[in-house]
Structure formats: C-alpha cells, structure tokens
C-alpha cells in the first residue's frame, strides 16, 4: 500500500470473506443481503497483514451492478475478446490463432535481434534486377546478414518459407524420399549435417501422432462395448476368473498395439548425435573466434521456434509478429461483464466500463485547519519537489473535513460508521460529528461548474468583499465552529462532514512496569505509526427500474451498497 497521505483506499468485499464468492456462486443468486457483513460484527483492520493486499485506490476498482459490489482485479476474470496483429491490425479469427502459432500469417515480420518491425528495402543496383532485403530501422539488422534476399516486396512470409525450404533441402541433399523405410541407424547417419527446420519437424510429428491415434482407435477391441476399456485390466480380470484359455489370453494381450513414440527424422524427432564430423567442435571453435556480440542470446533463441537452434546472430531468421489480444473483464461471482473494449483493433473505445469511481460515493479527507493542510501529493509534478508527510502529535485532537462525493444520478442517503478506537497497536480515537446525511444527485458535467455558486448553502451569499476574500483564502472556515449532528458544507453532489481525531501515543506510558512479554508485543511493525481510520460506508437510494419502452413505469426500487474505506490520516510522531 502506498503511503502518500492523506489517502483513501477501498476494500473489495472479496477480502472480508473469500468464501462469500464461492458460496454466492453455488447459490447462483446475486443479492446477498448486506446484513451479513454488518460493520458492528467485524471491524476492518487496516494494519492486519492481509489488508495490504485488499486495500486499493478507487481508480483500481471496478463495479458489478448485478451484485451491486466493488470488484477488484482479484475477483474479476479476464476473457480474450479478439486477437490481432499489432503491426497490420488484422483481426485474426480465434479458430486460426493456434494454427498460425499465435503469430501474424500475413507479411508482418520482426527483427530477430531486437524485435523491432522489419521493412522491405530495395538494394537493387541500377543495372541489375530489383532485390529486396528486410531491414530493421532500429538496430539496422538486415536479412542479408542471414543471407536472405527477396525478389519482391510483397508476400514476404511465403517467400521466406520457400527460401528456408530450399536451404534446408539443399543442405540435407534431398534424401527425404528414399530414406523412408531405412532402419533407424541409417537414417541418422544419412541425415547428419541437416539443419532442422522447425515447421517441417512439427508437421511430421503431428502427422505421426495422428496416425498413431487413428491406428490405436481403429484396432479391433475384443471386449468392445464392455465397461473394461483398458485391455490389460480386462485381461487381468479374465485371467482371475479363468474365462479364457492361456493361448487366447496371450493373443488378446498382443492385439492392441501400444502407441509407439516417434523416432527418427522422418517422424519429426531429431536427437543429439555426439561426435559426428566434429560439428560441435567447429561451433566451439567459431564461438572462440567470434565476439560476444555475434552469439545469440537466450532471449533471441526462445522468441520464436524458428530461431531455437540458432547459435550465431548470422543464423537468425526473421520472426513473424506475435499477436496481441484485447481482453474484457467479467465479475467472478455472477459473470456479468464489467469491462469490455471495442473489438476493432484500431479502436481505443470501450463498450462496457463499470468503474467503481462512477458507482460508489467517494471519500476524501483534509485537515480543517488551513495551515495544517498538507500539500496534495497528486499535485507534485517535479521530482525535486519533496513531499512532506503530515505528522500528527499524540493526544492532540484535530478536526478534519471528510468530503463525500456522489457519482450517482439519485439522491443518496449515506451512513458512516467507524470504530471509536482505531484497530491496531496504536489506539486513536475517532468521532464522526455527523454520521448520517444525504448527498444530492450528480448531474451533467457542466452543471457542477455552473451551479456551484448558488447551490452552496453554508457560505453567506451577501456578495461582499469579505465573503469573496473568505472563499479565496478559506479564512471563513476558521471562524466557524463544527457542531455535532450538523453537516459542515453541502453542495450539489458533495457533502462535507467533520471528523474529530485524537491520535494515540506510539508508546503508552504506564506507571505499573509491564512484563517482558507485553513489552515485546508493543514493538511496532512497519507503518503501524500511520494513523488509518476504517470507515464503513453504507449508501441507500431509490433507483429507477428499467422497463421496456412503452411499458408502464414501475415504482422506484431501494438499492443499497456497503463497503469499507480506509482513510490514511498521517504519521504519528514518536
């Protein structure tokens, strides 16, 4: 949890009861009554080790309107909306994503050295035919470094595949057809210096295993139709009951051919061949000769299967651009969509965006005393501008203005509850002077700016110079005294109330000497000197029920939401 104070963090309901989600899912019913997590029953402890994972700023939270609850990144599930190529923005149908190896099958290629996109560049001499190379604009790698020159600047992937095939076949001397049924040893010897082609090997492996599968499933099963699908099991059982003769049993054991594993180059497997032609020794010698920069890095090898065996940068092959995804988010409990981007790769717009910011009342804390008002950390833009943490003196009562903002278009009744003594090792006293109040509805964007001068009820509207000065300097606030049960200030969709906080002492002074055990338990952990106030916010409002167009408007429905908000006030001085 970051500690730019004063702060406000919100607890996702999944934190208080991880089982709540599963149980709700089992019941597949949404509106779990709010009474279950009654604030009186369990107080949220911001200092407990668990809460560090549960408290999030409002901007990180989403909202599910089916469950009427906050949803954090932990209680939403992601789903892929679309796959697309970042380079050509082609939307790849989900069916062909796997077949293409999660890569763009069009002419998008990336640099194998630095992963920047490659562009075809003409290197044709004036008098000869046009020739193209793929060139990286960042590290200036060109496909000519790997000996690749292309005839046209289009259909790059096809040209490259053809180029690679001819190179592989050229090296292996075209013995693919006659080596078909030669014994294994002969194969390995014959195909030794052949550079492996990954795609080719993969194709062979796939066909081999497909064949194996179809063979084994086609094999006539003597006990087909029975529950005993495994032949060995069945044979054992039949042996026990003596149902079959010994010879028949032997036969049945032989019949279902066990699936064979692939071996040999023809079936797509290349194994390590030691001590042949001193090939490895050549490589080691070459490595010794060349510099570090000429060797491929692990990153370069794993980025694409095509470069898996490349030892030197001169062997690197252009890599097809990897696809990206656009993802949406769903509520884990009810599967409601809480975030969904537009599927078109070029668009940055969203279709559904349920931000907690737009659905729950927002809390913000500020010291009442202008002089004590700390600089807002979000206004610090320069690095050298030091952020001064507000420090609190123990036992010195201080008043704070708590601003609650309503993002909803209905008037909301808010009830705030907080434990009188803050949880944790340092006991501070907190009093909300006005825990129950209502906030007006939010309007259109400009309503706020246009009506702010008239909606304010607390400021005297005498138009005098003094009032103007007071509103500028905030000097008026210092004259007014906060009263219990009264709202401090109210504007259209914003209500301010006063919080009185008496910070506790970091070390309690006691006359009676304590046992060692008690002393040890008093040692403060990290950030335990930070005064944090947990507040349970409950909001109620009458919402309009959506009805079909033309239908009879139904009466408004009572909605409510409750959540814990933790206000970071400041660090208590020792």
């Amino acid at each position: 949890m970051d500690l730019a104070l004063p702060s406000a963090h919100y607890a996702c309901p999944c934190s208080s009861s991880p089982s709540a989600i599963t149980s709700a899912r089992r019941a597949s019913h949404i509106s779990a009554p709010l009474k279950d997590d009654d604030p009186e029953q369990s107080t949220f402890d911001p200092h407990s080790p668990r809460s560090a994972y549960n408290l999030l700023p409002l901007t990180h939270l989403l909202f599910c309107d089916e469950c009427s609850q906050i949803r954090c990144p932990k209680c939403t599930i992601e789903e892929v909306i679309t796959w697309y190529c970042p380079s050509c923005l082609f939307e790849v149908p989900s069916g062909s994503v796997r077949g293409d190896g999660n890569r763009c099958a069009r002419s998008c290629l990336d640099c194998p050295v630095c992963e920047a996109p490659l562009n075809p560049t003409s290197i044709g001499e004036r008098d000869t035919a046009e020739e193209y190379v793929l060139r990286c604009g960042y590290c200036h790698w060109t496909s000519a470094d790997a000996g690749i020159k292309l005839a046209k600047s289009t259909k790059l992937t096809e040209q490259l595949a053809k180029f690679r095939r001819t190179r592989v076949e050229g090296a292996s001397g075209l013995q693919h057809d006659d080596e078909a049924n030669v014994p294994r040893v002969a194969i390995t010897e014959a195909s030794k210096p052949q550079p492996r082609d990954h795609d080719d090997a993969f194709g062979k492996l796939t066909t081999f295993y497909k064949e194996q599968l179809s063979e084994s499933s086609d094999a006539p099963n003597p006990y087909g139709g029975s529950n005993y699908n495994s032949p060995t099991n069945l044979a054992r059982i039949m042996g026990i009951y003596g149902g079959l003769s010994r010879s028949a049993l032997k036969k049945s054991r032989e019949k279902p051919q066990p699936m064979r594993e692939a071996h040999g180059v023809n079936e797509g497997v290349a194994t390590f061949q030691p001590e042949e032609d001193g090939d490895e020794r050549d490589i080691v010698g070459k490595m010794r000769e060349l510099g570090w920069d000429d060797l491929t890095s692990e990153q370069q090898q794993v980025v694409a299967p095509v470069n898996g065996d490349a030892r030197f940068t001169s062997e690197l092959w252009p890599v097809s651009t990897r696809l990206r995804t656009k993802r949406g988010k769903r509520c884990k409990v009810c599967n409601q969509i809480v975030f969904r981007p537009e599927a078109k790769p070029g668009s940055t717009r969203t279709k559904v965006r349920m931000l907690a910011h737009d659905h729950i009342p927002k809390l913000a804390l500020q010291p009442l005393n202008v002089a004590a008002r700390a600089q807002d950390p979000s206004f610090i833009v320069r690095k050298d501008q030091l952020y001064v943490e507000p420090n609190l003196r123990p036992h010195a009562a201080q008043q704070y203005v708590l601003t609650v903002t309503n993002p909803l278009f209905e008037t909301v009744k808010v009830t705030l509850t907080t434990p009188a003594i803050t949880p944790g090792k340092v006991k501070s006293r907190v009093t909300i002077l006005c825990p129950e109040f209502s906030i007006g509805p939010a309007g259109e964007m400009w309503d706020d700016a246009l009506s702010s001068s008239t909606a304010s009820t607390s400021r005297p509207e005498d138009g005098s110079r003094k009032a103007a000065m007071a509103s500028l300097t905030g000097g008026e606030d210092s004259e007014r005294q906060p009263e219990a049960g009264k709202v401090w200030e109210k504007s259209r969709n914003r209500t301010k109330v006063i919080l009185e906080i008496v910070p506790g002492a970091l070390k309690e002074i006691s006359i009676v000497p304590k046992a060692e055990e008690a002393q040890a338990s008093e040692v403060l952990g990290e950030d335990e000197d930070v005064l944090q106030v947990p507040i349970f916010v409950r909001a109620e409002w009458m919402a309009e029920v959506s009805h079909p167009p033309g239908g009879k408007p139904e009466p408004k429905e009572l909605r409510e939401i409750g959540y814990w908000c933790v206000l970071g006030v400041g660090r208590i001085m020792g």
Binding site: C114, R126, C139, H140, A144, D293
Partner: protein
C-alpha cells in the same frame, strides 16, 4: 532585401539576442558560416572559440552549438535538431568535428571529438567527451557512448549499449551514397521550413548602439538568403 525594413529587424534581433542567453548576447563566438547554410535565428551559439558551419547545413531553432571549451565544426549537409547540444562546456578542452552528412537528432548531446561522415545520432543520445564515432554509424535514441569511447565505421549502438555492424552499408557503396543523398534531400526540404537567422549570424558582431547609429552600414555583409 528591403532597406526600409532593416531598422525594425535589427531592433527585433537585438531584443531576441538579449533574451535568448546572457552569454550569447554579450559575446558572439567567431563564426564562419557558409552562405548556403541555414542557422535559425533562435539557434543558440555560445563560447569564444570559432564555430564553422559548412555548405547547406541546417541548425534548427534552439539547437545549441557550444564553442565554450573548444572550436565546433559542422560539416556540409549536417542537421542539428532542436535542443541538441554540440560542443564542450567551458572548463573542458577539445574541439568537436562533425563530418559531412551527420544528423544530430533532437535532444542529443555531442561532446565527442569526431563524428564520421553520414552518421546519425539519435534522439537524446549522448556522445561522451573525447569519444569518436566512425563513418555511417548509428547511435540509436537514448543510447550513450561513454567518454573516450569509440564506435567503428558502420557501427550501430542500440538496446542499452549493444553494438553491431551494419553489414549491408559496409558492403555497398551505393547504399552509402543513398544515405548521403537522403540527408541532402532532408537539408533541401528544411531549407523552406527553417528560416535563416540572416544578419544575426552573418554581420559583424552585433552591438546595439552601433546598429542604431548606422543600420545601413552592414548591408554589404548580408550574404545568401535572408528573411
């Protein structure tokens, strides 16, 4: 070239030179600017050592040629972009030479002694003091060549100090020519986009009083394109 406009221009110019930089206003370094070169009025030329700018080179507004620690030589068809700094600060000794067709991009700092023909210094890259960059080399954006370091001919510095050699350029005279040609084209295109500072750089050192007394005395000093 209109005589009536000149007095107002000069007064403008003396104002800008006063505000641009204290050093620039008081002492202008000894300049040797080719008549076809373009030095923006808003470029910053400081120091007391000589600055030489070659044929058709383009110095953008707010580019800083700093002849404080030693002379600065900009070769023909070089481009120095905005907020790039070329030259050593006061207190450091040594000259900086950019050979022909060098592109120094925005925010780059060149303290190194020699940048070879046709090289490119990327955005916010830094060439350390005494470092040398060979011909047709590229230092990618935000890369650093340390003090006294060396980038060979056709070298590429990229990806946090990784280095490689552009084999294609090395092997092809034609492509090198192509690179120079495109830099020449760039200078040609900039000619109409970046207005030249004219009298500010080409007349004798400006002294406000002198100009106000005899604004027409320097007419002969204006060479090449002016505003």
């Amino acid at each position: 070239m209109s005589a009536p406009r000149l007095p107002s221009q000069t007064s403008n110019r003396s104002q800008t030179s006063n505000t641009s930089s204290a050093a620039a206003a008081s002492v202008r370094p000894p300049l040797k600017i080719h008549s076809t070169a373009i030095v923006s009025e808003r470029a910053v030329l400081t120091g007391s050592h000589p600055i030489t700018i070659g044929e058709r080179a383009v110095i953008h507004p707010f580019a800083h040629l700093r002849a404080e620690g030693g002379s600065v030589t900009i070769g023909e068809y070089c481009t120095i972009d905005e907020t790039a700094v070329v030259g050593l600060p006061a207190g450091e000794g040594g000259e900086v030479v950019l050979e022909k067709g060098v592109a120094v991009h925005s925010g780059a700092v060149v303290l190194g002694s020699i940048i070879g023909e046709g090289s490119e210094i990327g955005v916010k890259a830094r060439i350390g003091k005494g470092a040398t960059v060979g011909q047709y080399a590229t230092v990618a954006a935000a890369e650093t060549v340390e003090d006294g370091g060396n980038v060979g001919d056709f070298g590429v510095v990229f990806g946090r100090g990784r280095k490689r050699v552009d084999g294609l350029l090395e092997g092809s005279e034609e492509l090198r020519e192509l690179r120079l040609t495109s830099q020449r084209k760039m200078c040609k295109a900039l000619e109409s986009l970046v207005p030249d500072g004219g009298m500010k750089w080409r007349g004798p050192p400006l002294v406000q009083v002198q100009l106000e007394l005899a604004p027409h005395a320097h007419m002969n000093a204006i060479k090449g394109p002016t505003l």
